[in-house]
Structure formats: structure tokens, C-alpha cells
Symmetry: D3
Subunit: 328 residues, 6 copies
């Protein structure tokens, strides 16, 4: 039995695994939990992040407007399923050179020590990783961008490791990047970053073709007694475009750029109509999990077809068993 | 209250706006009104144009055959919803250098003074704008192509302005053009064209990204007391292809290349399955409106996924209010 | 009345043509007959081939795994509709230089004289045509690859012609080849190949645009008293990707690189949701037929959206009539 | 003996054809006649046009500055070989919507009736054809742009034909256009243009591959007793870029979109170091000729490697003989 | 001391190696030996093949015409340096389906047993390998094309190996192929080909980047006591285009698809102006050698910048030593 | 009179400006000073950096080998013109994760406080910026890579500013990046980097087209009494490839991401044959300067056509005057 190292979360959203279901992740039967029109200005709501907050949950949501402007919005929920999302995007305090908005998308939220850190793809003469923190999801303090452009999917680890903050990311280019590996960077202070280490690459050839074009970190890694459980996205380039799926790997607890095990097989792919049809067909894109250390339950929040938000479930046992059985 | 400058049209197809609906355009509940197989030879029927005619309506329809040849066909309707489309394409009288068919698609129909003008994308060593007129939708007289290739979406204004005919168009290239602005051209005689003026461009960056790749005029502009109401299409290039949406702008009555107001937000985008799934997924493409000056009602005919034809409704008030509220 | 030259097949799967249906091929009403998850490891099962075998049917199936590895699997059926597919891929006996697996996909099966030949797209430093035979669908003997890379869709004729084996194929490149004609090659021994002849090309321009980007042979040609009935796939490149449709042609019995007639119009295109939505939207891809010489019935097995397997029906009369009526 | 229909020009620059030279055009031995630095601000001077003027010659020159801004400059010469080019670019009088400079390049100069017309590639929300006239090469009056974007190489005929002005051009796209045919357009007044006719296309395949990618008109056509002599450029796309060469054709005097004869073989290609090496290697690009009707002599001015200006010679006899001997 | 297995050739063209020269191949000091204009119709003469013939030498030459049509021409020389090339291209006897000319280029000539075989890139609905033989360089008998399109650089071994003819080639695509490995194919009769074996690939990364884009066989392999000496071309894709260089490898005598040694370093690259400047800059492309078994001398004929023909020298000792010292 | 803030360098290489020369930079008359073959293994030597060292000069040189492997080599000179370059590349001490060589190119050398820092484009799962130091050009200590991939042209300022090290760089992609701006990053310790600031962008349109595709920092900035003098490279994409030229700007002394002035016109472009012809035609690429504060003299070392190394001269007055006269 594998164990999540973390807090208990008794009110974690949950449904039991369907009978005779042979994949490690199963969908919430009422998906999508957030529809594209759930706030008045939105064209689509997806690729969003949630955390336990007070007696319920808070989150930061990517809502593309009907101008198809990309921005991030705070939201709140009692049960993790029904959400009230603010109608106005987050504004940030900080150095105006950095807080000046070009665009913001694909947020992650990570609680470290005493506050909630938000990281996202931040436009600063190209996409890079924005960093901010909040205590209350009302006031947000923006720090320096972590890296030079061009980068996407900056994901913090939920605690310092060997005294340093750690961030996973996927360096990219200025467009629909047709390449991309996962790297891990370190910082003593969330202000200066270095000691960049390569974590893992795409897989060329046939052995694991769903992740042959690019891969990027998804939710904040989950600490387990066997290593960091990383759920990530992988992309294949078919003759009719990219297909985004979810994969999983186990990283070393102390040197998280070292991969202990990685699944050749994906853990969730576009199957349902709301995942296959939308503004960008054939996308499942995980950005957050909730976990309950008592039961090992994991709830995964993921974007569907760049249009709506879905919820899915697994357990730490299901995931680690699957990763090991399907390891390269 | 804004006013349409034009005729009354008591039998305009119509449904009331749904309750609690916050967009300016709403779909006909029985969409699509024309299915892909509605004539025996057709693979798809879309991007088509209608006008009031006699006691009902006539139209010119793009029917791609099961050879996927593109041609335009006349059709007739009593109510604007149920259509009888001819099984043979339109043939044209005129100079054989010009009438020789390469391909024909995306027709518009515009009544000026005493006759119905048809403009369409006409193959002449590349796509350009074909021009013809009819009095009866039986006999069609083809004029000279308006422009040199490469051009698409030639749309006439419904009356002369300052003594000249006026045409909007989108210059293009020979393929799936990844750029495109709207221009306005003038002619004293529909034979020679000049005084080409730039009307509006795509919007780079995040401010209105749905129209960042190309834009093109849609239906014949609607004259209002505040300017010409232009409904147009705009395109974004996602990693899985183009998404075509509808936008709207208000042009100066006398110098229609001057933009009075333009909506940053789109007015209709692909949401319904018949708009998101088909030969070209994620396309709504408006080509015609019917208007009733008495009530301000507007019925919009639009192609869906390059496969079927949809109908939607709005009013001049809804549109002008939305344009102004969402202006750049 | 046209005649199939071949065996009777009393248990051919069959449904009658729907009333008022004007196309030559009609779908099985319970499609898809094979779902994407029909074996535990599969992401998708499509582009597969079947033959009569013993008192039922056998087949070779393309099952892409949840690693999105491409391989081919044997399977069996009593009725041609309900299939038991092995959970492990086929392994081959033969020269290890040739049997070493890179990837395998898009199989065809062809009975000649005393055994079943399997041909498929075989990875050997690029895609080429693998060739093997079996007597029992348990043991498979692999021969030399027929051609140098890069090639796809190697399809044998079901008998020698003028003393030589004959194979159709589509030479390609290393990626999502945006071109491709059909060629016919000859071999005295299935070991050495030559006398390569061009059969037919894509059609540029508007006359038959559905096959303007590439074409490739589909099922094993069906011998008729008027020539070889070839069902093939044709592709158009829209602004949102490739659309794969089915076409048909009639080839000379003795010199099968000579085209007697070819249909300008496609015979089946993506219409149903399972053909338009999936890992590769808008694909119908035929790989096999069953035929009954007594009745002229033809059952077509085809891949749908690179995800599931469909079944459709026609008759030799329907097909030959349609080809002739729609010939160039 | 062919004849030029036109004026005598006793002081035409001239050198005799070298001995044993088997091509119809021979280079001036002191080439290049204009170096890249010949005015203080210039990076390069090329693709320029000259005419007889007063007792010498005048011209309009493309001088790209050391900012690599593209503009056109007037210049003067006594002998047609040594040129004084103004240090400031031409400014235009006219409608400010049209005279507002984006960029200007590749001028042609054409004397019609009583004045000198300049046409050039003019930036107006994309490249199109600017038109202006001058009497003295000091004051220039700009007219409306002839066409919608995107277009290059607008070249007037030196007299009205059937009462209309005539212009050749090459419609293009927004970048390094990899396609392009020559069209002919008509105008009663140089203000409105129509009756666009296709003149000739690129040649696909091997028969005349030097002109397989794009072709465009060069100097003002030369009237001869057998038709209009058109010198044009043709382009092939090698694996290391475009090669621009000169070709020649003979057009019908009254319907100049009808090609009487066209040479399969080029008439001049990049051979000399100043043609093969420079800012754009491997370019010869003709923009002007001087002709002497008395002797049939023709002096050709052409850009070399987009860097310097060359001079070459031929006669009407040489050219027409070569065109006919090498006709398709 | 390495030995060439072959004939003596006392009149092999020869110059001694320059002093203090550290590369294995040195250029003829009077290069180029054939200029682009050496026959009246030619634009360029390059990528050509020579053999000893009677008391001198014969060859087959690629002469692109001033139409930039590609064809092959016979030629003769007393000394291997001064050549008389026929003014008319080679015509072939044989099956008209095969002899019908589309285009022909990059010939090789190989003497086997009693006759001279010519192989070349032959247009047959795409580039493939043409095969013919001659006894006298006057009459040429064309055989079947060796392979399906798309292929280039078909190079025969100068004797049967294990009873089969052997041919190296580089499968390609329809354009400026940005990939390409060397394969070896076998034939019992030069009519049917099979047993295709991969020989060697491009080298990705930094270790031998000059051959990172594509490689293809050059002259007929030279038999030595240590293996077949293969001189080949390798290509890198810089930001300003392809650079073609020469490399060398040693292949197993009995299984020539097995590489005994291969040089990481190139053996000749574009240095001289006639190699760096021309229709395709930066190309050296070897197509033939002459060898003298008595002295070990090798004369290499190679195309320069796709424009002229160069000659260079080496010895079997120089080459084998270099290959071994620079082996991967 | 502008002043260089720095040391005197009496033995700076120098030639006076030619008469009547109107550009701010003039070439050394004996260019290139380093030839492509100047060490036995080299294919080309270019894009290299020099500094004063002991009583002469030292440098780090990019020598691409005849394998076309990219590496950096130390070298020494008495006069800055004649160089002895080591025959073996530099090896580094440090963490083996970082010192493991993939490829190394385009070095810069910067003396700060007590040692020489080398920065270069370093392969670490993509190009990034390697950092090392030496005291003696014999032993080199490698630090952490400054940034995540993908990045090129990391250039240090020669002193700390406001207590931090500062580095300019150009973020890029994995290939021949067709975009690129200059950014400035800060570090307290050369180990962790942050506070990334945008410095300047490419210029779209015609105003300064030579720098419309990408720009990157060149030599270590030169401190002057008016600001940091930055010499950089700018690139335009012509139809025949990239042209690299040199530009100049003046940056704020304390906030060097603020541009005080920037020249629209380039300061040196490819003119000479050794700049226009070579492995990558049309490249001048500056990587180092020597400066003499006493006289204001500046010697610029620059790569030519990615093949050889050139030397050019200017003065601080010439440069600052030119920048101001040509400022945007």
C-alpha cells in the first residue's frame, strides 16, 4: 500500500471506480463540472487549479473571454464540484514592469508553508512563468517572473527540498510549440532561479507515441512514500492536429529531476464528447489535484477540449501500481 | 432605439430571444435548416445567401457535390426556412473567357435598384470575385470579375454611395490564407474598380484573439440610422486548426471604409454540435441576412462546419448595443 | 448484371439497403462493430482486415495500445460482426533482420492459392510494406519487405496475373505525407519486385477535390467480370486537416495498372459521429471486404476516425453502376 | 528583319555582341554600372528603371538604405551609364491616404502621350501597385493604387490599346510568394481597373523549370511589328533558395493577354559574381529597356543579386529569333 | 598498405598531393574541368560519371539546359580531363512505358562483366532509379526502373555479390527531401529487386553534423582488400540552406550493408569559389571515380555548386587511413 | 567627445579610417585574420572572443571541426592579429551534470574583478548559456548554466551593477529561430538568475528591416560616459535566407535594460567576399571588442559567413555619433 504524505481532506470530491474498469483514472459522471458559459463574459473555462481553502475550496480559473482574451479568475466552492467564479479577473500588486498584463493562462495553485502560490503562463514579451501569492484569494502579490521567455507550465513543489524552492516547467517557443521537455529549477527565495536540471523528454518512435511531440508538468506533484507522483500532459501530432493526454511518473523525493518510474501508457485520454469536441478538439489537460492522505484518494481537475472543466478520480495505489506495471 | 433603413419584411423568419440569454444572437431551435444531403448530388450545403423574392424568398446556395466540386445553385422558399434548391447549378450568360467555370463558392446576393446581384468566389486562374445579376433567379448574366486574383468574400453594398458601387472584400492567397484584412473598393459601372481603401485589420495579441488570423466581410451590410452594420467572420489559428466566428462593426454611411465602432467580442461562435463537427470543424460563417425595418428584426443565415446551413436571429438594437458596449 | 468472380459466402454479414438511399454504400445500423476498448490494452481498433476462415471468419486487426504503439493482432468471429481479438499481438517467424519489430499497422489479408498473406505498413528504418503468410492465424511466417521505404498500403491481388504476384501500394514519405499516387508492382516469387507501373494519381483542381491530396489502395481488389473492383481512400486537405473518404475504380483484369473507369464522386465519406469524432477526426478508411459471388453482396470493413471499426454494405452492381455513372 | 515600333535613340548605350557568343543577351563589360554605395545612404541600388529624357536619360532607382528601408529615387545621366542619383527619395503630391509612405520598391517608368508614368510596388496595408506621373522628374503626382493588395510588378504598356490603358502585373501574397502568374488589366482612366485577363503561368515540371515557381513582368513591353516583346523574370526554387532569371515572350498587339510565342529557354541567368553574390544571391531582375527603332538595339537595365545594377544588350532580331527558336 | 581490387589504369588523370596538405582528397589545380557552358544548350554540367573506355574514357553527363531541363549526355575524352560531350541527350531503346522521358539526372556508370550500366534519377511519376546498359556509349538499352518512386542516387556495385546484383540508393520524397538514409537492394536479374537492407543513417546531434540531414551514395563503390570503399555525400541544413559535402565509409565485402568503418569527418567540403557560388551554392557532389589498382590512385569526379564539374585526387591508402582514424 | 570608461590598451590592433569612408566601422585590410583551416582539425573558425591578457591577448575561439562538431578553444596572440589557437578544445572542471559536453559555440569572454568569465551557447538538452571562469586560460571552472533552454548569446556586463551581475541574452527555440529579442537578467552570485527585463525587440515593417527577424547581443558592452555601448547582430529573412548585420545601441548605465538610443541603420553588413560566401553566406557576427580608453579606439572581432574571423575598427566617438544621428 502506497501512502500520500500530506493532510487529510475528508470532503474531497469522490465517486467510486466503475465496475470492470481497467484504467487507473475514472471520470466524474456529471462532467463537465464547469461549463464554458459559467460566467457571463466567458467563451470557455478550463485548465484551472483548485486547493482546499477554509472549510471548502478555492481555485484560480482560466476563463477565456468572448474576445478570446486569456485571463485568470478566483473562485470558491463548498464541495469542489459546484463553483462560484468571480466575474472579474485577478489583479496583482507588485512592480508594474511585472504586473502589467499581456495575457495570463493555465494557472496552478500550490500551498507552501503559510500561503498559496499561483504560477501561470504570463505574457512578458513572450510567454513565461508568472508567480504570485495570496493568503485569502482576494489580494494577490505578484513576484518576479521565474524565467526568461519562452516557457509554459510552471509548477511548484509543495515544499522546499534541500532548502530550495523547486519548479517544474516546459521551455517552449513563441507559438504552438511542436517540442518540449520537462525541466526542474531551484530557487533560494522565489526571486532568483538556477540549477536547472532536465527531468524527462518526449519519446520518439513507437514505444510511447502519445508523448512523442511534447510533454509538460500538470498538477502540483503529490508527495508519496515512494516519491513525487507527477501527473503530466503528453502530446502526439496526428495528421489532423495535436492530441493531449495525461501521463504519470514517479520522481525522486530529494532529487526530483531523477525519474524513478514513468508510465509508457497514458492514464487518461480524450474519449468523451466534451473532451473530443470544442475549441481545440482532443485535449485533456490536468492542472490540479486534491488529495486525502487518509484514504489515498486523488481528485483530478482537467481542461477538456480547451473549452470546459472536468473532474476525475484515482487513488495513490491505482496510480503507483499502474506506473510500475507500465514502466519503460 | 436604432433603426434599419430599408423595407419592411413581414414574413421574416423569426423566433424570440431565449430567456436569460446574454449574447446578441440566438440560434433557430430547429437548426440546421438545410442538411448536407438536401439535394441528391450534395456532400454539403453551406455559406449561402438569401433575399426576399416575390411573395417569399430566393437564394443562391453553395452545394459542394459528392465529387467535392464547389458550385452555386438557385433555390426558393415560402417561409425562409424550408427550401427547394435546384438540382442543377446556375449557368451564366456572358463573355466565355469569364463564364468558363473553374469553381464557384460562397455566394452573396444583393438587390440594387432593379435587380439581384450575385457575387461569389470565382475561380479564374486563382480565386477572385465573380459578379452577375438576375431578375428572376432563372437567367443569370455574368459581368467581368471585379478584381485580380487572389480574393474572396466580395460583398456589395445595397446602394450606390456617392454615385459609386461599393464592394468589400478580403484579398487572399492561393491556399488556406493565414492572413486577411477587409478592404473597400469603388466602381462607377461594376466593370472597372478602384479607389481601394483599407477598412479594418486582424487584431494581433490577446485583446481580441478570435479575429487574430484573418477577417472577411459576411452578409450585405445593413443600413441603419447610425451607420452600416457589418457582420463579418474572424478566425483564430489554434494548435488544432482555424476557428471561424462572427463579429460585428459599424461603418460610416458615406465613407464606409471608416470604422465607427467594432466589437472586440465575437457575436456568435461554434457551440452546437453541428457547428463544431463536420467537414471543417468549428466554423460559423455568415453570408446573408434578412431584415425587417418595421421591427428591427434580423435573420442571419450562416454556414456550419462547412457542412450545413444554420439560421439565427437578432435585432438592430441588440447588435448596435453590443458593438458599442464591446468596442475597442 | 455484373458478377463477382469468386466463391460463395453464404454467411456474409448483411443488411438491406435503406429506402430512398441514393449512395452505393450503406452503413451497418449497429456501427461501430468494434469499439476502441475491445481488448484491455487498446486505445483504438481500426483499419483492420478480415477473411472467411473455417466456418466463420478470421482477421488481422490494428490495435493501437494505450502507449499509442501500433501493432497487429489476430482475431476470430462466427458472424463477421462480433469479434474475439487476441490480447497479444502477432509474432512472426523469419529472418530477424526483417522480423525485428519497429511498428506495424494497417494490415490487409489476402488468400492466394493455399494460404493467407498478410501485408501491412512495417517499420524498417521508415515505413515500408511487410509481407507474411499463415495457414491458421496462429503461426505467421514473415517474408522480405516488398519495397524500400517509404511506402504504405501494400495490397495484394487475390491471384497471380500473367504468372506474377501483383501488389498495389502508395509510396510516401516519413511523415503525414501530403501527396500520394497508387502504383502496381509485380513479383515472380514474393521476394523480388519490379515492373512498377503507375495506376492513378490524385486529382488537382475542383473536378474531384475529395481525392486531391493523396490516394491509396484499400481492400484486396474484387475480381468481377468487368475488371478488378478497387475500393480506395482519397484525401483532401482542408484548412482544419485531412478528410479521408472512400472511392472506387475498375481496373483491367490482365493489366491492372490500366484504369477502365473511376468514380469522380466518393462512395462513402465521414457523416456519422463515430466517423467525424475520434483520435483523427473525419476519417473513413477501408481495409477489407467480404464478398459473396452468388448474390454479388459486398461487406466493407473500414476504420472510423482512426478510433473504431465500422461495417458497411454494397453490391457489385451498385458499385459498378455508380463508378460508370460518375466516371471522369 | 524584325522592327521596333518607336523612336530612334541615337545615344542608346551600346556594345557589340562578343564573338562566338550564343545567347541573345550580352552583358556590358564594365558591369555593374551602379554600385551599392553610390549614394551615401544606400545599402544597395537595383531593380531600377530608366527612360530617355531631354538630351540624356532620367530614371527612378530602388535604393535600399542602410536601415534596409526600401524607397525610390530620381536620377539623371548623360550617357545612360554614369548616373547621378538624388540623395533624397521621391516625394509625391496627391491624396494623403494614398501618398502616405509604407515602403516603395521596384519602379518602372513608362512614357505615354505627354508624361512619364511611374509604377512601383507600393505598401498600402500590403504590397500593391502605386501609380504616379511626372513631367520633369522633379514633381511627382500620385494617382490611386491600381489594385487591391497583394500585387507586385505593375508594368504599363507604352500606349493605349483599344482606347484603354493596359497594365501587366503579378498578383502575390504578403511574403516571399512561392507562386505567381502574369495578368493584364485595363483602365479607361488610370483610376478604375477591370477586364483582368490571364496572360501566362509558371511552367510546372521539367520542360522549362527555370520559370516553375513564379513569373512577373519586367520592363515596359517593346512594340514590334510582330507583337509586344515582353522581357520578364522567372524563378525556380532550388534547395538553397530562389534563382531569378530573365525570359522573353511575344504578345498580341491588340489583345496583349494572348501569347504569340514564349521562350522555353531563359535569355539571361545569374553567371557573373555580381549576379550570384550579394544580399540575395542568384538574381537577375530586369526593370527597364532603352530601344532604338533605327537599329533595333535594346539596352536592358537589371538588378543583380538585389545589390547592384547591371546593363546588358540585345537587338529586336536577336530576341525574336531566340523566342521563336525556343518556343514551347 | 591497402590495395584496390581491380584493373590497372595507367592513364588515370593525376596530380600529386600538395605539400603540407592534411586532408585525404586534393583538388585538381585547373578546376573546374568542365564549365557550365561547355555544350551550346547547357546552363550547367555537373554530377556526372566517367569510366575507362577503349583507349581513353567515356562518360555520362548531367547537362541542365537553358530551359533548366535535366537530361543526361554521353561524352568522350582521351585524358579524362578534356571532354567532348555530345550536343544531344542520350535516347533509350526499350519499353515505351519506361523510356518515356520526364527528366533524367545524376547518372552513374558501372562496368559489370561485359557492359556499362547507367543508373540515374529517372522521372516516372516521381523520381526513381532508371537503369540501362550500353556497350559503346552510342546505343543505350533501358531496363525497368529499379524501384518504386521516390528514390535518388541508385549506385550499382561493380560485380555480383553472392550471385546477386547489388544497388545502393537513397529513398526520398517528391521535393528537396530533408531526410535520407542509404539502403542496399539485391536483384538476381536487374529486373526484380528485393532483400532491401539499411546501410547507414544520418547522424543527429553534434558528433558529425555535416551529415545530419541526409546522406546518399556517390560513385560506384571501390573494391579493396579491406572492404568496399564508399564515397558518399552528406548534407547539413544551415539557416541559409543545405551544404553538401563528401564522406567515406568502408563496407563489408560480402554483406555490403554492414559498415566496417565510417568517417565522422568529411573528406571534402565546399571551399573553392566554384564550389561555394553557383546555381546551388555550397555543394560538392561526387558521382564517379577512376582507379588504378597498380598505384592505388583514385580520381574523383564531382559536381560543384550544381553548376560545373570538378576533379580531385586521393589514394586508397589515404582514404582508408582517414576513415579509420576518424571512425565513430 | 565621448569617453570609454576603462583601461588603456596601448597595443590595441589598429588601422586608421580610410579616406572618404562614410560608415562608422572600417575593416582591417588584411582580413580575414583567422582562416578556416588555421588549426588542423578545423572546418571553420569564427564567432570568437578575445581579451587583453598578460602582455598580449588571449581568446576563446569557436572552431567547428571537419566533423562539423562545434567546440571552443583557447588561443593566444602577441598583437591581437596573429593567433596561436590550441589544437584541443577547452575542458572544464565542475559538476559533471553540467560539464558533460553536448556542443559549445559562440563564446564571449568578460573580465570581472579578478578573473575571466567565459559564456557560450552550451548544449544541455537544448541550447542554453554556459558560464565558466579562468585565471590563466589553461584551467577553466564551469558554473551552472545561467538559464533554462532555449537561449543563445549570453553576454555579461564587465562589472556588477547595483550589486548584481548582469547578463544580456536572446531566448530562442531549438532550431534556426526566426524570432528573437534581447533581454537582461540579474544575479547576485552567477548561480541564480532573475529580474529578467526586456531590452529591445526586432523592428517589424520597413523602418529598420535589417533587424526585422531577430536581434542578439554581440560583444561585452563597452562602458562610456554616456551609457553602455552595445554592439549587436540583427537579421532579416530574405527569400534566399538570413542576412546577419551589426547594429549598435546605447543603454542606461544603471538600468541597462533601458535603451537611450539605438541606430536604425546598421553599422556593418556583409559586403566583402569573405563575408558573403562561406558555409553560411551573408553573415557578419560580432563577438568581442578590444578598447583603449586613452584614445577611444575600438577593435571589433567578428565572424564572417560562419567560416572565418574578421577584424574591424571604430572609435567611441564614431559609434556614439552614428547611433544618435540614426536613432529611431
Amino acid at each position: 500500500m502506497s501512502k500520500i504524505i500530506g493532510n487529510s481532506l475528508k470532503n474531497i470530491p469522490w465517486q467510486e471506480k466503475p465496475e470492470n474498469y481497467n484504467m487507473p483514472i475514472w471520470r466524474y459522471t456529471q462532467n463537465p463540472i464547469i461549463n464554458r458559459n459559467d460566467i457571463p463574459s466567458s467563451n470557455s473555462i478550463f485548465n484551472s487549479a483548485v486547493v482546499p481553502f477554509e472549510d471548502g475550496f478555492a481555485g484560480v480559473f482560466r476563463c477565456d473571454s468572448k474576445c478570446v482574451s486569456m485571463d485568470i479568475f478566483a473562485g470558491f466552492s463548498k464541495d469542489g464540484i459546484h463553483w462560484e467564479i468571480n466575474h472579474e479577473p485577478i489583479t496583482f500588486e507588485g512592480d508594474s514592469e511585472v504586473t502589467k498584463r499581456e495575457y495570463r493562462y493555465d494557472p496552478r495553485v500550490c500551498f507552501i508553508e503559510d500561503r498559496y502560490y499561483i504560477t501561470w503562463c504570463n505574457g512578458y514579451h513572450g510567454p513565461t512563468i508568472g508567480v504570485a501569492y495570496t493568503f485569502d484569494f482576494k489580494t494577490f502579490h505578484q513576484l518576479e517572473n521565474a524565467f526568461l521567455p519562452y516557457n509554459r507550465n510552471g509548477v511548484l513543489f509543495p515544499r522546499k527540498i534541500n532548502g530550495n524552492y523547486m519548479m517544474l516547467s516546459r521551455p517552449s517557443d513563441t507559438g504552438h510549440t511542436p517540442f518540449g521537455d520537462i525541466f526542474c529549477s531551484q530557487s533560494p527565495d522565489l526571486e532568483y532561479w538556477g540549477h536547472h536540471r532536465h527531468v524527462m523528454s518526449t519519446e520518439k518512435g513507437d514505444i510511447s507515441a502519445w508523448q512523442s511531440t511534447k510533454i509538460g508538468p500538470g498538477p502540483v506533484p503529490i508527495e508519496t512514500d515512494e516519491g513525487w507522483l507527477l501527473i503530466y500532459h503528453g502530446v502526439i501530432n496526428t495528421c489532423n492536429g495535436f492530441v493531449y493526454r495525461m501521463g504519470a511518473a514517479l520522481l525522486d523525493l530529494n532529487e526530483p529531476w531523477k525519474v524513478i518510474a514513468r508510465s509508457k501508457a497514458y492514464v487518461l485520454g480524450p474519449y468523451e464528447l466534451y473532451e473530443c469536441v470544442g475549441d481545440v478538439p482532443n485535449v485533456v489537460f490536468p492542472c490540479a489535484t486534491l488529495t486525502d492522505a487518509d484514504t489515498g484518494r486523488i481528485a483530478i481537475y482537467y481542461g477538456c477540449a480547451d473549452t470546459v472543466t472536468g473532474l476525475a478520480f484515482t487513488t495513490v495505489d491505482d496510480m503507483l501500481k499502474y506506473i510500475k506495471e507500465n514502466a519503460f
